[in-house]
């Protein structure tokens, strides 16, 4: 059902959407325009003057092996975070959907990580996995498994994937739980009487009915992993050791702010922006198609 409120005249509606428009203009349109502008310019070594260079920054970018490596690393990171966050959330949602004692408490606890600020999440993971003082990290070294994510790139990657996925499990959990609860009970009962048990019933009946939720979360999680994990990763490893956890968003920041190569950094953010627009339009097209049927 659609609810509409009609306002008389033009002044009131304009006034009501003004705050949103101003926020969008100041925090999105203006910086985006600035990024596009800067991506076509190059600063001299002393930062005193800039010159128009056309698409040269972009050409340099795609020719740069470090950038290509970061893109590949980001793809791996996104895939792993999405798979882990969705898999864990689905498993937990299936358990939480069952008739168990203390279900409300269990569900509430599972939603908490979503409320934890990214930097705080990183601190929690440091406290767990730091090789000397972390609960798990110190224990690993004590039992003879050498573990130091500050030195080993693979371990660092595993750590940031774990932390980023953990942050997203709650969000996925909420949607999966809602999706599971939207599956009509009688359909499950019909399947029970038809003889379907356990995992087979889940795979042939529940999962197909859950696919719209799966597609939605797939897009949301990829966007999250690609663009929204900066704080978690930066607070954990600053992209290191070396470049082993440097994803594309980190590279934008490190190249632009730390290394002061504003032209290249802007070109990178324009590429990312194109990525976000592409994913969002995919999502809108998919959701639009769903609601049309």
């Amino acid at each position: 059902m659609e609810r509409r409120t009609l306002f008389p005249g033009r002044a009131l509606p304009a006034l009501l959407i003004l705050p949103q428009l101003v926020l969008t203009a100041v925090f999105f349109l203006w910086p985006a325009a600035q990024a596009i502008w800067l991506s076509t310019r190059r600063e001299d070594a002393f930062g005193t003057s800039t010159a128009f260079v056309g698409l040269e920054n972009f050409a340099d970018l795609f020719a740069d092996p470090l950038y290509v490596a970061a893109a590949g690393r980001t793809a791996l990171f996104c895939t792993a975070v999405t798979a882990l966050a969705m898999g864990a959330a689905l498993l937990l949602a299936v358990f939480a959907d069952a008739e168990i004692r203390g279900r409300a408490f269990y569900r509430t606890m599972l939603i908490w990580p979503y409320a934890v600020a990214p930097a705080m999440a990183a601190v929690l993971w440091v406290l767990m996995f730091q090789p000397q003082i972390g609960l798990v990290g110190a224990w690993l070294n004590r039992v003879g498994i050498r573990w130091d994510y500050r030195l080993d790139g693979t371990e660092a990657m595993a750590l940031v994937i774990g932390a980023a996925a953990w942050k997203q499990v709650s969000y996925n959990f909420i949607f999966f739980l809602a999706g599971l609860q939207a599956v009509p009970k009688t359909i499950i009962e019909a399947a029970r009487i038809d003889g379907a048990r356990g995992f087979h019933r889940f795979r042939t009946i529940v999962l197909p009915l859950l696919m719209p939720t799966v597609y939605f979360l797939l897009v949301v999680d990829v966007v999250y992993a690609a663009f929204d994990t900066f704080a978690t990763v930066y607070a954990l490893t600053q992209g290191g050791p070396g470049q082993s956890t440097q994803t594309l968003v980190l590279k934008v920041y490190l190249d632009g702010i730390v290394n002061a190569d504003v032209g290249s950094s802007s070109a990178q953010s324009v590429v990312l922006m194109a990525g976000v627009i592409l994913l969002s339009s995919l999502q809108f097209r998919f959701l639009g198609r769903k609601s049309a049927t």
Binding site: T186, I187, A190, A191, I193, G195, A196, R197, T204
Partner: protein, 358 residues
């Protein structure tokens, strides 16, 4: 052999007892209709037989086999749900084939069984469609087909017609009856609709507050209701129930100020015993010699006319007259033919049988 046996079946949710002990023996191949108002426990009873709920006490035997603790998948039953519960992501064919695939039948066998059932139900042209592309009646048929292909020991129907419009309901009612007769599978059918109950069942089980109040053939239930609840529930419009007094040696009743000799029937019970006298609206006779009742409302239904009358004391009476447009004045004089009177004990509500019954 008994198709279905229930022994002292009980079910409580929390501290509330929903089913208070049901005993039942349904002969093989018969259709039992469980009827009762909302909340009488009829759906719970069906779900217990299906295995979707676990009984608090008692036993369930299907075809002589104790299935009380057995998983629904192993009970060899099929169920038709009120909302059909079709698998929305599967075609009509796959909906029907699902249970057979799980049982490991060969592709050819599945094909043959589904084809047979769909021919029986007129679904041949719809096998490739998804449930959302079907009308209510077609979905209902698919749900039936899914039950039939399984070739089960027992069919369970949970108010399968209540989501259909009136015309389709009458049509599907006939189809269900024909199918069940033809397949000869023992069936349990839950409904709150007494017309469905009367037309579908070989036997009726009338439930009231978790207690089975009468288990008999539909005509038996109609002609000899076991208590005032059944008397008021089965039959439309409902049976008139009026307070009365047993007279003399039990061979007459006084009702509405008129003493009626019971034409040879004699009830055990002292004179003055309070009773409830029942008479169906179609059995009340309008006769100038009868007692007068003030008319409250006249409902012409075309082929018949319902006259509702009420006396100041609160007693109400419905009279069904043949024909439409019957002219009824402010008072209607009525006679109660003694052979159509039902007598119930007013204290217990139970039907009273004449001591000299033939």
């Amino acid at each position: 052999m008994a198709g279905l046996t229930l022994q002292d079946l009980r079910k409580s949710f929390g501290g509330t007892e929903i089913l208070k002990g049901v005993d039942l023996d349904l002969p093989d191949g018969e259709m039992l209709v469980i009827v009762g108002a909302s909340g009488c426990g009829k759906s719970t009873l069906l779900r217990l037989v299906a295995g979707l709920e676990t009984p608090t006490a008692g036993r369930i035997l299907i075809d002589g086999r104790d299935v009380t603790g057995v998983d629904p998948s192993a009970r060899d039953i099929a169920m038709v749900f009120q909302n059909y519960a079709l698998y929305p992501h599967m075609s009509v064919f796959d909906n029907m084939a699902y249970g057979l695939k799980i049982r490991g039948l060969s592709r050819a066998d599945i094909r043959a069984k589904v084809d047979e059932a769909s021919a029986l139900l007129g679904l041949d042209a719809l096998l490739a469609r998804k449930p959302r592309q079907l009308s209510g009646g077609q979905r209902q048929r698919v749900a039936m087909g899914r039950a039939i292909v399984r070739d089960p020991k027992l069919f369970l129907f949970d108010e399968p017609l209540s989501n259909l419009d009136a015309k389709l309901r009458v049509q599907m009612r006939g189809e269900i009856r024909r199918l069940q007769r033809r397949l000869g599978v023992t069936s349990l059918y839950v409904t709150h609709d007494q017309v469905e109950a009367m037309t579908l069942g070989d036997r009726l089980l009338v439930m009231h507050d978790g207690v089975p109040v009468q288990f008999a053939t539909p005509m038996d239930v109609f002609e000899r209701p076991a208590d005032t609840y059944v008397a008021g529930f089965i039959g439309s419009p409902a049976m008139n129930l009026l307070p009365g007094i047993l007279e003399r040696d039990g061979s007459a009743v006084t009702v509405g100020g008129v003493t009626i000799p019971l034409a040879g029937r004699r009830f055990t019970g002292a004179g003055g015993h309070p009773v409830t006298v029942g008479i169906r609206p179609e059995h009340v006779v309008v006769d100038p010699a009868g007692a007068e009742w003030p008319v409250e409302l006249v409902e012409p239904l075309g082929s018949e006319t319902l006259v509702h009358a009420a006396r100041p004391g609160g007693a109400t009476l419905t009279v069904k007259l043949a024909g439409g447009g019957t002219d009824v004045g402010g008072m209607v004089p009525v006679l109660f033919p003694p052979e159509h009177l039902h007598v119930f004990d007013r204290n217990t509500g139970r039907r009273m049988e004449p001591a000299n019954a033939a």
